[in-house]
Symmetry: D2
Subunit: 177 residues, 4 copies
């Protein structure tokens, strides 16, 4: 998740957070925002376009869980941070994620990679019903069909292994993989 | 689930269905209807009051999956059958259930029992947002707090082991067990 | 799962079963057999080679849940049927599947297809530790690396959409998709 | 999880760890160790007896995930720490937990409580096959039947809300709740 900007840091300064990131795994939520039909079927997947270190890549919604923040609150806060306050997310009923993504700072330690830190990300698929607009950190938000979102072309535009999570999310929702 | 009335029988007559029920496990959906807060927290659990063979018991929403019917469609149809067409269910994103309940016709074969049949029930927690009214087969629908729904008193009023499923559903949603 | 031979039919004759298959969804288990490292990491995926109607295809372990049979018993029986009695499966702790595959008899109704029937298959990943030999219905059993099992080449050799399930199983186990 | 002794601290001194614990949620694994039948059915639940601040309580296996440690490795290391190196755990195939327990430092913020820290614990049921002996930090290890483990008496002897997790684990495994 190296492409992501820093999140609000709770009671920690950026310098402290940077120090801690070299010593402890950090709890994240990873959210795949989707549009659904009235029957609960995924019709579109929302991917952010981000610029980072001169490169442009697509990304899902992601961010830290803060001290004394519940997972549900972290999901809502990070969706509002990335998609705006009008997104109207359908917050998951259960804190149990559909997958856990382990981002390691060294490449090749697993499918997920984040050069900044070791992050343990709880992953959720979250339908959003309202109008979304990418926050200042993101250049754009694109709604793709499940087929496009799972394609090799889009995978090539995602960083840190997040395309694996998008595909797993679609499979979890019963959509073609 | 012996307390449940027969469902629409697809292309089978009641007699055929009765015959098949002695020969094959039957696919069911079990739905725990809930009211939730805007933050996705379960605030109430809906239980039906049913009369069956002279006894009155509480029950969750349950019914068969019909031939060529998807699980999602079966969830919606059975909710409308038991709670009315105004219930406005939030259909699950994934067909993967939070639990599978195996109802056996002989008592003591497991926690779940249905004298009529061997049923394999896929269980889901489904938020309903609209007004609910019990169908003609149910005497009443009561919205209980999670604490009441998980209490021993309410467990004693449920048949077939369904109180186990209610408690597991609450635990799955992060509510006290 | 059209490529699969008929399973033992409980108390039903083949003719009865064929009749019922046109009227009710049938409960199946789908098992992806794997070899694992001592640390629980999937190292190999076992796929069967089957001949059916003159065509040869790869398949996972699959079979019906019989009347009054528990899911756990059905998993073990179907593994022994397809992989032999020496397979020594690590039976899943929980009857909750990692995925549910809905096989419809009409093509295009979803990712999974079975011309014979509407099957609702509960899917499990099951490590086997003993020597495996394919039963008389299967021509061969091949142990593939996760990369091979998830490849487009192998996908093209599988029928009924089962390659989706293999890929989802690998993603569920934290192996590259 | 206030009753638990400190774990190995990676590259952090105890003082640093204490500091960080007031600023970031800490990633934990929670493991319910079980004995199973050859058919995968839970026959016994292992609970530790711990002394902490003059009080004695029962506890499940728990510990931090260290920097650059995978969840699987953390599960094995913490089982060996609490149950000894002969325990022979059956490491979970998937890093996806059956539940997530959010331990908050303030009482009443949820079902789980840990006065030392905000911990996000990924929970797993893990069969152990070898002889177990509690480490020096634990006074004893007791194997209880599922009924005993889920009883109110045992719940009263557990701290931090962990009895909820034991009951949910048993329900997840299809054992009476």
């Amino acid at each position: 998740m190296a492409e992501l900007p820093d999140e609000p840091t709770g009671w920690m300064s950026d310098r402290e957070l940077q120090h801690v990131r070299g010593q402890l795994p950090v709890v994240y939520v990873n959210v795949i925002p989707v549009r659904i039909s009235p029957m609960g079927k995924v019709t579109n997947v929302g991917l952010l376009l981000r610029a980072y270190d001169g490169a442009i890549s697509r990304a899902i919604v992601a961010g830290r869980v803060l001290y004394h923040e519940s997972i549900r609150d972290a999901i809502v806060r990070n969706i509002e941070k990335d998609l705006g306050i009008g997104a109207l997310p359908q917050v998951p009923l259960s804190p149990t994620p559909f997958a856990v993504a382990e981002y390691f700072p060294s490449k090749g330690a697993g499918p997920f990679h984040d050069s900044r830190q070791h992050a343990v990300a709880l992953a959720y698929v979250v339908p959003v019903q309202g109008p979304c607009e990418p926050s200042q950190d993101a250049l754009d938000l694109t709604w793709l069909s499940p087929e496009e979102a799972a394609s090799d072309d889009v995978a090539a535009e995602m960083a840190g292994g997040q395309h694996h999570l998008v595909r797993q999310a679609l499979a979890h929702c019963g959509v073609l993989l």
